[in-house]
C-alpha cells in the first residue's frame, strides 16, 4: 500500500510498509524521537514520537502509515507532553551534561534543546547507578542510560551477538551485559560492533577518543536535531 497522508496539514507521500515516522523523515518532517533509529526495528518505548492519528494517540515510530491518514504531530499540548517526557528521562538517570563527553553529540540533549527545556521540572531520583570501565576500548556509564533499547537491537540484529539486554521492572530497569561476570570486558563485544556506537546518549562511549572534536564544534552545536535527524540519520539506513 502506498499513497499520501497529512502531517499537520502537510501532505506527505509514503511507500509500502513505512511507519509514520519514516514517511515523515523521507519528506523532511521531524517528529521528535529517541528510541527510534532508521534501519532498526521499531521499538516504541520512549513515547517522544507520540502523535494523534485520526484522533487517537499513537507512536509514530511503530504505527504504519496509511492512505488518507490525518496525523497531528505538533501542537502546544503535544510539545508540552514531549517536554515532560524528556524531563522524566533527565530526572530518572543522572545527567550532568557539562561533564559528559557526549555533550553536543547527545540526542537526549538535542531533543531537550529542540523542546526548549530550561529545567528538569521534576524532583531527581538520584538513582544509584554504576560505571563499567572494565573493557579496554568501550565505557559504559549506566547513569546516562535511557533504556531506548538501541544497543540491545544493534547487538542482536546487526552484530548477531546479544551483548545487551534490559532487565528489572518499573523504575528499577537496568541495562545488563551478557557475560559470565556481567562485565563488558568478558562479553564478546568488539569495537566494530554497531552496538558500541549506536547509543543516543553518553551511556556507551568509545575510550581514547574523548574530546577530539571540541565542545562547540559538535553535531548539535551547528544544527538543531530537527535538521540533523532528517539529513544524516538517513546515512545509517540499510
Amino acid at each position: 500500500m502506498s499513497g499520501t497522508l497529512t502531517i499537520d496539514d502537510q501532505i506527505i507521500p509514503f511507500s509500502d510498509g513505512q511507519t509514520i515516522i519514516e514517511a515523515a523523515r523521507t519528506a523532511g518532517v521531524y517528529i521528535p524521537h529517541l528510541c527510534h533509529r532508521p534501519g532498526y526495528s521499531p521499538h516504541g518505548s520512549c513515547k517522544l514520537c507520540t502523535v494523534f492519528v485520526n484522533g487517537r494517540q499513537c507512536s509514530a515510530c511503530t504505527f504504519p502509515a496509511a492512505d488518507g491518514q490525518k496525523v497531528i504531530s505538533t501542537n502546544e499540548d503535544m510539545q508540552q507532553d514531549r517536554l515532560r517526557i524528556t524531563q522524566m528521562l533527565f530526572v530518572e538517570g543522572n545527567h550532568f551534561c557539562p561533564s559528559c563527553e557526549k555533550s553536543g553529540n547527545c540526542q537526549l540533549q538535542g531533543v531537550a534543546y529542540h523542546l526548549n527545556m530550561l529545567d528538569n521540572h521534576f524532583p531527581h531520583f538520584y538513582a544509584q547507578r554504576e560505571m563499567d570501565a572494565s573493557h579496554p576500548d568501550i565505557l559504559i556509564d549506566h547513569n546516562r542510560c535511557i533504556f531506548c533499547n538501541l544497543c540491545v537491537r544493534a547487538s542482536r540484529d546487526k552484530d548477531g551477538k546479544n551483548v545487551f539486554a534490559i532487565a528489572g521492572r518499573g523504575i528499577n530497569k537496568r541495562l545488563i551485559i551478557n557475560s559470565p561476570t556481567g562485565k563488558l570486558k568478558d562479553s564478546d563485544i568488539s569495537m566494530d560492533d554497531c552496538a558500541a556506537h549506536v547509543c543516543p546518549t553518553g551511556a556507551i562511549l568509545i575510550k581514547h577518543t574523548g574530546y577530539q572534536v571540541p565542545i562547540g564544534e559538535r553535531i548539535y552545536d551547528h544544527q538543531p536535531i530537527s535538521q540533523v535527524a532528517c539529513d544524516t540519520e538517513a546515512d545509517h539506513d540499510e
Binding site: E92, F125, I146, R169, G170
Partner: protein, 594 residues
C-alpha cells in the same frame, strides 16, 4: 545435585524455551532463588542468552536472584487487607518469627515480605507461604504457623485447613445457577453447527469480561478468518486487579464449564492448542485443575477426535505466572507464555492476528469462556434478554471491604450500585471502588449509577469503603500499586507512576501547596495520554477519580490553602470530572472564597 535437578526440570519442560517461567518457578521452589549456575546451565541447555533469564527473574516478583527463606511468607498489601489490619499481622509475624519485613532471617529459615493483592480480599488479611494461600490470618493462626515453621515441618504436613480458601457465593444468578453436564456445550455446538454457534455468540452480544469489553464473537470470527495456523486459545486467569477473586472461584468450582468454553472456541476458530495462564497466587488450584483436564481427556472432551468428531483435536496446558499484574494484559501475557518478561507488545498487529508464537490467538477472560459455554447451550437470545442492550447478560462481582457479606455476587448488567450495596450489607458508605484501582472511585452521592459498560464497568472488583476510611489511604495504596507493577517499558509510565507516587505522598503528608495539586493533575494527564498500554493509561485513575469525588478533602490537605491567582484549581479538575463522568456542583471547587 543442581545438575540432576535441572535435568529433570528441563526434561519435564521438553527443553522448550517458552516454558522458561515454569522451569524457573521450580528452581525457585527448590533453591529459594535462581543460583548463577542454574542461569548458566539453563541458558546453555535452552540455547538462549543468559540475559534473557536474568531479565525474567528480575521481572517477576516471585523469582529472586538472592535466596529467600525456606518458608517465604508474603502478606497481601491490597487496600482491603490493609483495612483488615495487615500491618498488625506483619508486626506480629515479624516479632514472633524474629524477622524484619523485607528481610530473610539470619538462619535462612524464613523471610517476610509484602505482595500485591493475592486474590483473597473476601477472606483477608491474607498471605502466601511458599506460594500457598493463608487466608484469614489472626494471632492464634499465626501462632500455629510459627510453631510449624520453627519445627521445620514440611508444608505438605501442615493441617490443610490452614490453607483452606472458601468460595463464598452470596448471590448466584443466570450463569452460576445453570444446570450443566460435561459435554453439553460441545454437543449443542456440533448439533447446531460451528457457523451457527458463532452466530448465536454474535446474537448474545457477549462482551469480554476481562475489562476492555470487546465483543467476543467478533474476536473469534476475526481469528477464524486468519490464514495462518496453528491458532491458539488462551484463557486469561491472571486476575491481578486488586479486589478481584471471581476467576478464582470459577476455576475452583466451575472449571469444567470454563474449559468447555475454551473447547467451543477452539472448534469455532480451528485451534488445537489451548493455554490457561494461571496467576502464581492460585498455585493451590494447579493440581486440582490438572485433574479436571485429565478427567476431560478420559471423557473424550479433550484430546484427539473430541466427542468422536474426526479431526477435532484440542488440548489445554496450564502455565503459571509468577507475580506480575501486567501479565493480565493480553499481549504481555503472550510474551510471558513465550518465556519472556511480560512487556506489552506494540499494536498493530493485535493478538488475534499475531499472538502466541506470532500466530492467530484468542485471549479471553475466564468468565467470558464460562458465559460462552452457556450461550452455546441456550443460544444468544437467552443471554441477550438479560442486562442492557449494550451490556447483555450478567456480571460476576467480587465484593470486599466494608460490608457484612463479602464474597461473590452475580448481577444482570444495569443494576444500581445502591442495590448492590444493600445486598452485601454495606452501611455508612463513603465511596466505592468499582473495577479495582484501574477503575473508578465513586462517592456516596453517585450510588444511583449503574454497573454496565456504558456507565461503570468492572472486570469484577467492587470494594466498599465506609465513612471511617481515609480517602488518601485508598488513593495512596492504588497509586503505589501501579508504580510497583509498571513494567517499565515506556517512559511516561515507568518514570511517571513513580513521580505520581512521590507527588501524591507529598500532598498527603501535608507538604503540598496549590501549585503541587495542579502539578499532580498535569502529571496524571501526561501519564494517561502517553503510555504504551492500559496500565499506564489507568494508573492515574485513583488520583483523578478520588479528586473528582472529594476535591474539598484534597484542598484541606494543602499546606497553604490560599491561592495565588495564577492557579485555577477548579479548571485542573476538568479532566478528573470528564473521566469520572461528573459535572455536578460537588465536583467543583468553590475557589477563592477566602
Amino acid at each position: 545435585m543442581l545438575t540432576t535437578f535441572l535435568q529433570k526440570v528441563l526434561t519435564e519442560a521438553d527443553y522448550q524455551p517458552f516454558r522458561l517461567l515454569g522451569m524457573l518457578r521450580k528452581v525457585q521452589a527448590q533453591y529459594q532463588h535462581i543460583p548463577p549456575e542454574a542461569i548458566d546451565s539453563l541458558a546453555e541447555a535452552l540455547n538462549i542468552p543468559r540475559t534473557q533469564i536474568i531479565a525474567v527473574v528480575e521481572f517477576y516478583s516471585f523469582l529472586h536472584l538472592t535466596p529467600q527463606g525456606r518458608y517465604d511468607i508474603l502478606i497481601s498489601n491490597s487496600i482491603t487487607d490493609q483495612m483488615l489490619g495487615n500491618d498488625q499481622i506483619i508486626s506480629y509475624l515479624s516479632s514472633t518469627l524474629n524477622v524484619k519485613l523485607g528481610e530473610v532471617r539470619d538462619d535462612g529459615l524464613v523471610s517476610l515480605n509484602h505482595t500485591s493483592c493475592s486474590g483473597m480480599c473476601d477472606q483477608g488479611p491474607a498471605g502466601l507461604i511458599n506460594g500457598y494461600p493463608l487466608p484469614r490470618l489472626d494471632p492464634p493462626k499465626i501462632d500455629r504457623i510459627v510453631a510449624l515453621i520453627e519445627q521445620q515441618t514440611p508444608l505438605t504436613e501442615w493441617p490443610p485447613e490452614l490453607f483452606h480458601v472458601e468460595e463464598i457465593i452470596h448471590k448466584p444468578g443466570l450463569l452460576l445457577t445453570q444446570a450443566f453436564n460435561n459435554g453439553d456445550a460441545l454437543h449443542a455446538t456440533f448439533t447446531r453447527g460451528l457457523a451457527e454457534t458463532l452466530a448465536e455468540a454474535d446474537l448474545s452480544n457477549l462482551r469480554g469480561r476481562g475489562g476492555a469489553g470487546f465483543k467476543t464473537a467478533l474476536k473469534w470470527r476475526t481469528c477464524s478468518q486468519q490464514a495462518a495456523t496453528p491458532r491458539y486459545v488462551i484463557c486469561n486467569a491472571d486476575e491481578g486487579e486488586p479486589g478481584t477473586f471471581k476467576d478464582r472461584m470459577l476455576l475452583d468450582l466451575y472449571a469444567d464449564q470454563v474449559f468447555e468454553g475454551m473447547t467451543v472456541c477452539a472448534a469455532i476458530i480451528g485451534s488445537n492448542q489451548g493455554l490457561l495462564y494461571l496467576r502464581g497466587e492460585y498455585l493451590f488450584l494447579y493440581e486440582k485443575l490438572l485433574d479436571v483436564l485429565q478427567q476431560r481427556r478420559e471423557q473424550g472432551l479433550l484430546g484427539t477426535n473430541i466427542l468422536g468428531r474426526a479431526g477435532f483435536d484440542f488440548d489445554i496446558e496450564i502455565r503459571m505466572g509468577a507475580g506480575a499484574y501486567i501479565c493480565g494484559e493480553a499481549s504481555a501475557q503472550i510474551e510471558s507464555l513465550e518465556g519472556k518478561p511480560g512487556i506489552p507488545r506494540t499494536k498493530p498487529p493485535n493478538s488475534v492476528m499475531c499472538g502466541y508464537q506470532r500466530k492467530p490467538t484468542v485471549v479471553d477472560n475466564v468468565e467470558t469462556f464460562l458465559a460462552s459455554t452457556h450461550i452455546a447451550i441456550h443460544g444468544g437470545q437467552w443471554f441477550a434478554d438479560i442486562g442492557t442492550p449494550q451490556s447483555t447478560g450478567t456480571k460476576l462481582l467480587s465484593i470486599s471491604g466494608d460490608c457484612a457479606r463479602p464474597g461473590i455476587y452475580e448481577y444482570p448488567f444495569g443494576v444500581s450500585i445502591r442495590e448492590i450495596l444493600q445486598d452485601c450489607g454495606a452501611s455508612d458508605v463513603m465511596g466505592v471502588q468499582v473495577g479495582g484501582p484501574s477503575g473508578t472511585f465513586i462517592s456516596n452521592r453517585e450510588l444511583d449509577r449503574v454497573l454496565a459498560f456504558e456507565d461503570l464497568s468492572s472486570a469484577g472488583s467492587f470494594m466498599v469503603f465506609n465513612s471511617t476510611r481515609n480517602i488518601f489511604d485508598i488513593a495512596r495504596n492504588f497509586t503505589d500499586f501501579f508504580a510497583h507493577e509498571s513494567c517499565g517499558f515506556c517512559t511516561p509510565c515507568r518514570v511517571g507512576t513513580s513521580l505520581l507516587k512521590q507527588q501524591l505522598h507529598k500532598i498527603i503528608d501535608g507538604h503540598g501547596s496549590a501549585a503541587d495539586l495542579e502539578e499532580l493533575s498535569e502529571l496524571c494527564l501526561v501519564v494517561r495520554n502517553n503510555s504504551h498500554c492500559g496500565l499506564g493509561e489507568s494508573a492515574a485513575n485513583p488520583i483523578l477519580t478520588t479528586l473528582a469525588s472529594y476535591p474539598d478533602l484534597y484542598l484541606k490537605q494543602l499546606k497553604h490553602q490560599e491561592f495565588s491567582p495564577g492557579f485555577d484549581l477548579d479548571a485542573t479538575l476538568n479532566v478528573a470530572r470528564r473521566m469520572a463522568q461528573r459535572d455536578d456542583p460537588s465536583a467543583h471547587l468553590m475557589q477563592v472564597e477566602n
